[in-house]
């Protein structure tokens, strides 16, 4: 599932363009369809970028969605609507996170990440949710720039040039951020007893 950012217009992109135009002109049904389509994607991006703090994430999801709706008239169909929305989500969220990275948040994040966690053998349903929560927390311990790159690469399988485009960063920088971020995330995962036990047992397979 690649996300080329420059490509000849396909039917899907033309449909995206039509949807965005209708929505930007205030057509209620189109706005709702677009918001419904993008909401989960935006939620996923924001929660990984925020690092698992739900209270903040919900506000930021709304902010990102509002920005997307506000700037629909700038969507030109050169990328897919999802990619275009990702770019806005990443920028909006990073801006807000940098502004709101108050002492209190850093502290609670730190306290939470160092809180006691023992290996468990939970029932399967709860386990994946908990593992993902812990993974999101581990993401929250990466520097913001590395978080973005790892999220775009692993969640949406962006290519490195596409990530460079979305984040406005040089390609080599993106590669470096991914390499370092991935290693850190791996290291955090290895230190988390539950994630480690899960990975040793074969992961989701």
């Amino acid at each position: 599932m690649g996300h080329p950012l420059t490509h000849p217009l396909t039917d899907q992109h033309l449909a995206d363009l039509a949807l965005a135009r209708s929505a930007s002109q205030g057509e209620i049904r189109a706005r709702r369809e677009l918001a419904t389509r993008l909401l989960r994607r935006v939620q996923t991006s924001v929660r990984y970028l925020v690092g698992g703090h739900d209270g903040d994430a919900d506000d930021l999801v709304q902010s990102a969605m509002l920005e997307i709706l506000k700037h629909l008239d700038t969507f030109e169909g050169r990328a897919s609507l999802d990619t275009w929305a990702d770019r806005i989500t990443v920028r909006t969220t990073l801006r807000a996170l940098k502004r709101r990275q108050s002492r209190w948040q850093r502290l609670t994040s730190w306290a939470q990440s160092t809180s006691r966690s023992e290996p468990q053998d939970p029932c399967a349903d709860a386990r994946v949710g908990e593992l993902r929560r812990r993974l999101a927390l581990a993401m929250g311990r990466l520097p913001l720039e590395q978080r973005v790159v790892v999220m775009l690469r692993w969640v949406y399988e962006y290519s490195m040039p596409d990530i460079a485009h979305v984040t406005d960063a040089p390609l080599d920088t993106v590669r470096y951020r991914f390499k370092v971020g991935r290693a850190k995330l791996r290291s955090h995962a290895k230190k988390d007893p539950l994630l480690r036990a899960w990975a040793d047992a074969g992961g989701l397979s």
Binding site: R40, Q43, V46, A111, G129, R132, G203
Partner: protein
């Protein structure tokens, strides 16, 4: 999935693996190369596992919203987006300009004709009947600390509309929903404005503390506040609400408030306190109006002066004409006139200044507070004698906390000014020996470092020091859980630990799950089966997907099973 570095390395590794499999002895360097291959392979496998976990089911971490919540969120987003329309709507494209110009001209002609026509009531179906209610705005009167509307920081004078969500991370925020309705939100509060019009002001308090004054002398809309545990309706009163995960506490100081839940509908009068859901209110000690009533009255919405007070260091209490406003940095809308400002910060010389506030003007005061002069050489912070560790079994028959926490736990409302009707500076401030400046953050980090180094005594001293010196700081709030766990695991003091966990649970926070688990464990060790059962039920309700859920279910069934055969009434 395995990412090998290059073809040569692959070939080398394969050969080595074959030799190893054939039982050949390998050199140390060859074994290192093989081990490196295994490490890389494991890392690559782990990367793949983590990536697949991250995009599991294409759902956000923490789970997707259910359909109803998702629809509600989308509605909310679309409503907010409509309040700030897109560029296209605001600036139509050139293609449509002639059509729009024509439409505008037509509108002008029709509008003019309608205006010039003699008015005959109800003569035309085109004329909309006058609205029964009129929309209101809520205005920010004071921000002391960090308060946000969505991701944007709030400022005094800002208007909020129905649908606005407000979070107070730290400090206090004062809002005016109507000339007769003002309320204050304290730190860690979250609120949403649901309806704002001349008939009703309706809001939802999701968590935290709300203190309100509704003036019965001025005609006003009904104030209705939804909480997770019920709804309160107000028409002219002074009251406060404190919402925690466990309960909603209503204190009424003047007038009456009706509290409705699914089961009950209770009228709460002045001097009474009610836990929402209970049938009867309790009498509260003291009938005096709390000091925050004066704070709310001190501010002014219309024709006000914008006052900004900041100090170095931050956190000084600001009094205007002897009424506590909040802590610096503080921004507020004040009535014009001469006002005596006073600033107090522990360990610093108090400042007093008379400022003249002019209508519509802005006044900024950036002040530096000097530490008090050295009177005599006091002990350095690190050498200060630490109170002996608390042994709750010995002197806490009522389950009291270690002393440093007790003052706060007695008052569920974390109001800095609540206990100070007379805000005169303390007489001993100037004579206090100087201490090396320590911040709550430093104390917390130092204590946690000791804790992870398993230096339990030092960690405990650090926790106690933080709770004693900065009992209302966010760091002290967080540390209650860690300290409670330490008391439980290392000191076998479940009673003291329980108090700490409950203090944390009452105010809520990111460690709420750990605090609830701690409470259960403390109750279990104290042998309070019934309370433990309730605590487990509350935990399972709040964290049904917790890792501990299945173990706690088992424990719950163990606790409940003997009762089935119990014949005592």
């Amino acid at each position: 999935m395995t990412r090998l570095r290059n073809e040569d390395a692959l070939e080398q590794w394969l050969k080595l693996a074959e030799r190893e499999a054939a039982g050949e002895s390998l050199t140390a360097e060859e074994r290192r190369i093989l081990a490196e291959r295994d490490d890389l392979r494991r890392d690559a496998t782990l990367d793949g596992q983590l990536a697949s976990l991250m995009r599991f089911d294409n759902e956000p971490p923490g789970g997707a919203l259910d359909q109803i919540s998702e629809r509600s969120l989308i509605n909310q987003i679309l409503e907010r987006a409509d309040q700030h329309p897109t560029h296209t709507v605001a600036a139509p494209t050139r293609t449509y300009t002639p059509i729009l110009a024509l439409a505008a001209a037509l509108l002008l002609v029709v509008g003019g004709a309608l205006l010039l026509r003699p008015t005959t009531p109800s003569s035309s179906p085109d004329v909309r009947p006058p609205a029964v209610t009129q929309a209101l705005e809520t205005h920010v009167l004071l921000v002391a600390g960090e308060a946000y509307h969505g991701a944007a920081a709030l400022d005094p004078g800002e208007a909020l509309h129905a649908g606005s969500q407000v979070i107070v991370d730290k400090g206090a925020l004062i809002l005016e929903g109507h000339r007769a309705i003002r309320w204050r939100l304290l730190d860690h509060s979250a609120m949403e404005l649901i309806r704002l019009d001349t008939a009703e002001v309706e809001l939802q308090l999701l968590r935290g503390t709300l203190q309100a004054v509704v003036d019965p002398a001025i005609p006003h809309p009904t104030l209705r506040i939804h909480t997770p545990h019920g709804v309160v309706e107000v028409t002219g009163t002074v009251f406060s609400l404190h919402v925690s995960h466990r309960q909603t506490l209503l204190d009424v100081y003047r007038g009456h408030v009706r509290a409705n839940t699914q089961r009950t509908s209770v009228d709460v009068g002045a001097g009474q306190r009610l836990v929402l859901g209970e049938d009867k209110p309790e009498s509260r000690e003291g009938h005096a109006l709390p000091p925050w009533v004066d704070t709310l009255a001190q501010l002014q919405g219309d024709h006000a002066t914008s006052l900004l007070v900041s100090t170095t260091p931050r956190g000084a209490r600001v009094f205007a004409n002897d009424v506590a406003l909040g802590e610096t940095p503080l921004r507020a809308l004040m009535p014009p006139g001469a006002t005596e400002l006073r600033l107090n910060l522990e360990g610093h010389v108090a400042l007093k200044e008379i400022v003249t506030l002019r209508k519509g003007a802005s006044i900024t005061r950036r002040l530096t507070l000097d530490p008090v002069q050295v009177v005599d050489a006091g002990p350095a912070a690190d050498e200060e004698p630490v109170p002996p560790p608390v042994t709750p079994q010995a002197h806490t028959p009522a389950g009291a906390l270690p002393q440093v926490v007790e003052a706060e736990s007695n008052d569920p409302l974390p109001d800095a000014s609540a206990g100070a009707p007379d805000p005169t500076p303390k007489a001993n401030v100037a004579a206090r020996p100087p201490h090396r400046r320590e911040t709550p953050d430093q104390l917390l980090k130092a204590a946690m470092r000791h804790r992870y180094a398993k230096a339990w005594n030092k960690a405990e001293r650090g926790f106690r020091r933080l709770l004693k010196k900065f009992p209302t700081s966010p760091e002290a709030h967080v540390v209650r859980v860690s300290y409670g766990q330490l008391l439980l695991d290392r000191r076998n003091q479940p009673r003291a630990a329980l108090k700490l966990f409950e203090a944390y649970i009452n105010r809520g926070g990111p460690l709420i799950e750990e605090a609830r688990l701690g409470r259960i464990e403390a109750l279990r060790r104290m042998g309070r089966s019934s309370a433990e059962q309730n605590a487990i039920e509350a935990f399972l309700k709040a964290h049904p997907r917790s890792l501990k859920a299945s173990a706690l279910q088992k424990r719950l069934s163990t606790l409940t099973s003997p009762r089935e055969g119990d014949t005592t009434p």
